[in-house]
């Protein structure tokens, strides 16, 4: 990528544009627009934003157990006595924890891998928090691992890989069901989803 030329802007402005341009999904035009918005913003709001960014970098750590982002170690989810410690749900990203917590249907523990096996990008199991998961299995009396990686090729490959590694230590390894999304349309479903939905049909 070529570095856009921000020379006409004053040095601090050009620097902010360049910093914002590094963020995912922010092109040079968006970076310029955001910068000029920030310049016109009340100083107090700008400080709050800057402090929030600094706080995230300074105070957020990874939970030594579930590897989720947290302010205290172990994180509140791992220390909550109400949660079922015999079941661990394995997820790709911290955002997936939020998605599952919103459902209020799962009361077990989590384990965040921080990525997915992506051989073509050179990302293997060593780059993920797989070793940490295996270490947890040796310490805790876990009865079930739920593999909740995304239902795409890389997610499936990661699930198969982890299944092979954890199977000797856990009585039950499960995978989230694949099927039709709520609000979807049957005629637009692809063959794989429909096949899986059919295979996983349930008695009413």
């Amino acid at each position: 990528m070529t570095t856009p030329d921000f020379l006409p802007a004053a040095a601090p402005v050009a620097r902010l544009i360049q910093e914002l341009h590094k963020l995912p999904g922010i092109g040079s035009k968006t970076a310029q627009r955001l910068t000029y918005y920030l310049v016109r913003m009340p100083a107090e709001e700008a400080h709050t934003l800057a402090q929030a960014i600094v706080a995230v970098k300074e105070r957020i750590i990874l939970c030594s157990q579930c590897q989720n982002l947290t302010e205290q170690d172990p994180c509140p989810l791992c220390t909550d006595p109400a949660r079922d410690r015999s079941i661990i749900c394995v997820l790709e990203e911290p955002l997936d924890v939020l998605a599952l917590e919103r459902t209020h249907c799962y009361k077990g523990l989590y384990h965040v891998l921080h990525g997915v096996i992506s051989p073509m990008n050179g990302i293997g199991a060593e780059e993920l928090k797989v070793r940490e998961l295996l270490a947890r299995l040796k310490d805790e009396a876990v009865q079930e691992i739920v593999l909740a990686t995304n239902p795409n090729l890389e997610g499936e490959a990661t699930a198969m890989y982890i299944q092979g590694l954890v199977a000797p230590f856990v009585p039950r390894v499960t995978r989230l069901a694949r099927g039709l999304p709520v609000g979807g349309d049957l005629e637009y479903a692809d063959q794989v989803t429909l096949t899986r939905a059919f295979q996983g049909r349930q008695t009413l």
Partner: protein, 264 residues
């Protein structure tokens, strides 16, 4: 007359990376247009009607609309999803390796019916359980060939003499085999056994189906893998990224892999 706004093609999805809020940037291999990059909007949402048709290593019938820099997938229907090969890690790791080969050796927007046919045939071969030990070597050799880098295997690349029985050397920098007299011309020349040379010649001249019937013993298989790996590294100027995963799976799932390598 202005060109139509959309076009249809079938394609195999080679790469997919997240883009923006819920989009994906796809690298597609097509028979008529070669390798394309295109965006697929909203496919990471669970309600996306395109998502399931555009997973990696899926052959789909696509409609794309021309964009300023990138084309956009507007409709997709999966034709082959290769579920059998995706349900086992050893075959899946091979398929991912093949996709990286196709991606690495095919330039953007240059028609490639041969590369497309080769990838499709190799993926279909992976679908049927067989002890196909040489499928990857065959594809490596032919993808090299499709990009114009097929190594010379018949005569010495330096003195052009036909090779006589005896000791030979393979040099990636020299572009093929060297006779003992010329081996010093290239620093990277490595000894190649007569059997390995014969197998490579056989692979380069035959169809995949014929090549898959060749059975080789473990030491010869390792020699072939090492030579092809050297050729790929020299030509691509990098390691194959999915090679590490391929080797890790071969170690973790030894029973299936060793069955594939057992000499008959």
């Amino acid at each position: 007359m202005s060109r139509p706004r959309t076009y249809t093609t079938e394609a195999i999805v080679l790469r997919a990376s997240p883009m923006g809020e819920a989009d994906r940037l796809l690298t597609l291999l097509t028979p008529a247009y070669g390798k394309l990059q295109a965006t697929a909007r909203g496919v990471r949402k669970t309600t996306s009607k395109l998502g399931g048709h555009l997973d990696l290593l899926t052959r789909s019938s696509l409609t794309l609309s021309h964009g300023q820099s990138l084309d956009t997938v507007t409709s997709a229907e999966a034709l082959e999803t290769f579920q059998a090969l995706k349900s086992s890690l050893p075959t899946l790791s091979k398929a991912i390796y093949l996709a990286e080969l196709a991606d690495a050796f095919h330039p953007l927007e240059s028609p490639g019916p041969a590369a497309y046919a080769l990838l499709l045939e190799a993926l279909r071969a992976l679908e049927t359980p067989a002890d196909a030990a040489l499928d990857l070597r065959y594809c490596e050799l032919h993808f090299l060939g499709s990009a114009g880098f097929l190594p010379e295997l018949g005569s010495c690349t330096q003195c052009q003499e036909t090779l006589l029985p005896g000791h030979h050397y393979l040099s990636p920098a020299g572009g093929g085999v060297l006779c003992p007299a010329c081996k010093a011309s290239y620093a990277d020349s490595a000894p190649i056994s007569v059997d390995a040379l014969k197998v490579l010649r056989y692979l380069s001249m035959n169809s995949l189906a014929t090549a898959l019937r060749v059975k080789v013993r473990q030491p010869l298989h390792r020699e072939l893998a090492a030579h092809m790996s050297n050729l790929l590294r020299y030509t691509l100027e990098r390691e194959m990224r999915s090679g590490a995963f391929l080797r890790a799976i071969a170690q973790h799932w030894p029973q299936e892999e060793s069955a594939a390598l057992t000499p008959t």
